[in-house]
């Protein structure tokens, strides 16, 4: 059985206890999307503000477990400054790490984008019931990007 140290890495606990980019952004100019996990009741709201094609600010609101919250926090940092294409590529790369086929890109291998702190979430894969927690913020961000594009 994989140990808890694979799941609760120090950096994950740090993001959980000190979440980055917590709060709300004004809509508009930002777009927002709400996500929830019906199994556990976790709720998350992702705000994304674009300047042209570039993500300039991300904010995270809502509540959830250490995995969903730390994943959201790291995501908010990792997304800031990327173009929307780069953001989607990172999203695909992350879901690939989580062993989840992305419907839109199921046949494409993930680009080898450096994940930085996000690598710490790799251990979640060993705890399959928690994968949904880790990807909740990412799926919600995808909705926000979609609504910004439409």
């Amino acid at each position: 059985m994989p140990g808890l140290e694979d799941l609760y890495r120090e950096i994950i606990l740090d993001h959980y206890k000190n979440p980055r980019n917590r709060g709300q952004l004004e809509v508009p100019p930002a777009v927002r999307a709400d996500g929830h996990n019906p199994l556990c009741g976790d709720e998350i709201t992702v705000f994304v503000e674009l300047d042209g094609d570039r993500v300039v600010r991300v904010a995270i609101d809502g509540q959830g477990c250490s995995i969903s919250q730390s994943s959201a926090s790291m995501m908010s940092q990792a997304m800031t400054g990327r173009t929307t294409d780069e953001a989607r590529a990172l999203l695909h790369r992350f879901k690939h790490m989580m062993s989840i086929a992305d419907h839109d890109h199921s046949d494409e291998p993930a680009e080898d984008i450096p994940l930085g702190d996000l690598e710490a979430l790799q251990g979640v894969v060993k705890f399959p019931v928690r994968i949904k927690c880790a990807v909740l913020a990412w799926n919600t961000l995808a909705q926000a990007l979609d609504s910004a594009a439409s």
Partner: protein
């Protein structure tokens, strides 16, 4: 009356008496979700399939007749267990949710009109909420809600107002989140005085103490086999004969008919008219064995055991963690069953459950299919430890040990 000897009893449960893994035995604290199964049930079902399996209600040969007897014998056994007036008042359903839906949907369509009132409570399981909301959407019935007191009991202060003009009262006998045991007899008496039909969601009560549906004065109740040592796939709807006679069946097909012509059909008598298709014969045999097992233990002893274990759990958790733990529901074990939903420090229930799993402690983390109640508790989720006959103080001690380590991991 001797207390239940848990160490001896768990020898009847293969999963609970299995060899430890990594030095840890299984600590199963999720029986409000579903219960473990004793050999008596597992063996009865296997033996029946190996030795005497056949079709029910269809064929004339002896094997078929014996199978039908087994199925009807289980119905009779259930009736005696809850003191129903007759085995004909027992309907086998797929599960308790199926039973609750059968009543809510079929009764509403046959007897309720726009504006008719159904009274529920804030502590209902989704299975006793959503079917009524569907009927609200379809027919326009009005839903009223019995609120809760601060310590998680039904607030009956305005019950008569809520029941004024009501057609149905549908309420749980025991909360699957708070553990609160509701005053079912009083509720049914007052509902009947107001002219309302009463449905009792007995999923959490029937497995854990003596049940007398006639003493309740209820019209119907629903419960499930799998929470009371029996197999999944089988639920029970009990209804007084005259209520079942007035309840149209929802599912048509074989077995439930008296006659079928090209221009129409007529239904079989109750309860068969509610059991279209081949029934859950093997599961009924399993439930029969589960009830035999529980009755041998004695339901009064089951209730006494769980009340005292609940007392021990509340005292031990409170002594160990003080203000770091918030246990929802009444603090008096006389008022509650062995369901302990709690918040632990600032830890998310998912994380608590994950860490407890390292100690092989099985608890539920989530909203427990009672989201309206969770909103009242201002929690997205709770940890829920639920007790049964095979749990003892040792299990609570392991829970405390595991919770302590959860606090350590998160550095709180």
């Amino acid at each position: 009356m001797a207390a239940i000897d848990v160490d001896a009893l768990i020898q009847d449960f293969p999963l609970l008496s299995a060899a430890p893994e990594d030095g840890r035995r299984l600590v199963y604290l999720d029986s409000a979700n579903t219960s473990q199964k004793p050999n008596a049930v597992i063996d009865a079902m296997g033996r029946f399939m190996r030795e005497s399996y056949g079709p029910i209600n269809r064929s004339a040969y002896r094997l078929a007749a014996a199978a039908t007897d087994a199925y009807e014998g289980a119905r009779n056994r259930v009736a005696r267990f809850i003191n129903a007036a007759s085995a004909d008042e027992i309907v086998f359903t797929r599960n308790a949710t199926d039973a609750l839906n059968l009543f809510a949907q079929s009764w509403s369509r046959a007897h309720l009109r726009r504006g008719d009132v159904v009274v529920l409570s804030h502590m209902e399981h989704h299975a006793n909420i959503v079917p009524w909301q569907m009927m609200h959407d379809e027919i326009g019935i009005e839903l009223r809600w019995i609120p809760l007191t601060d310590d998680g009991q039904l607030d009956l202060a305005n019950l008569d107002d809520l029941l004024d003009g009501a057609s149905v009262l549908a309420v749980t006998a025991m909360s699957n989140v708070l553990g609160t045991i509701n005053p079912v007899a009083e509720l049914c008496t007052r509902a009947r005085a107001a002219g309302a039909v009463t449905m009792v969601d007995a999923c959490q009560s029937v497995p854990h103490g003596p049940t007398d549906v006639q003493a309740w004065g209820a019209d119907l109740c629903a419960f499930s086999s799998h929470k009371m040592l029996g197999p999944t796939g089988l639920g029970v709807l009990w209804g007084r004969a005259e209520i079942l006679e007035a309840l149209p069946p929802m599912i048509g097909g074989g077995n439930m008919i008296d006659d079928v012509r090209l221009d129409g059909y007529s239904c079989a008598p109750v309860p068969t008219r509610f059991e279209a298709g081949t029934g859950q014969l093997v599961e009924a045999v399993g439930l029969n064995a589960a009830i035999d097992y529980l009755d041998t233990l004695g339901m009064d002893r089951v209730r006494d055991h769980e009340r005292e274990l609940t007392r021990y759990a509340i005292d031990t958790l409170t002594a160990a963690f003080g203000d770091d733990i918030t246990i929802h529901g009444p603090s008096d074990p006389e008022l509650r069953g062995g369901v302990l939903s709690f918040a632990f420090r600032d830890l998310h229930p998912h994380d608590v459950s994950q860490i407890l799993d390292e100690y092989r402690v099985c608890v539920r983390a989530g909203h427990h299919c009672a989201k309206p109640l969770m909103r009242i508790l201002e929690a997205n989720a709770t940890v829920r430890a639920s007790l049964y006959i095979y749990n003892g103080p040792d299990d609570i001690d392991v829970l405390v040990e595991a919770l302590s380590s959860a606090g350590d991991i998160f550095g709180f």
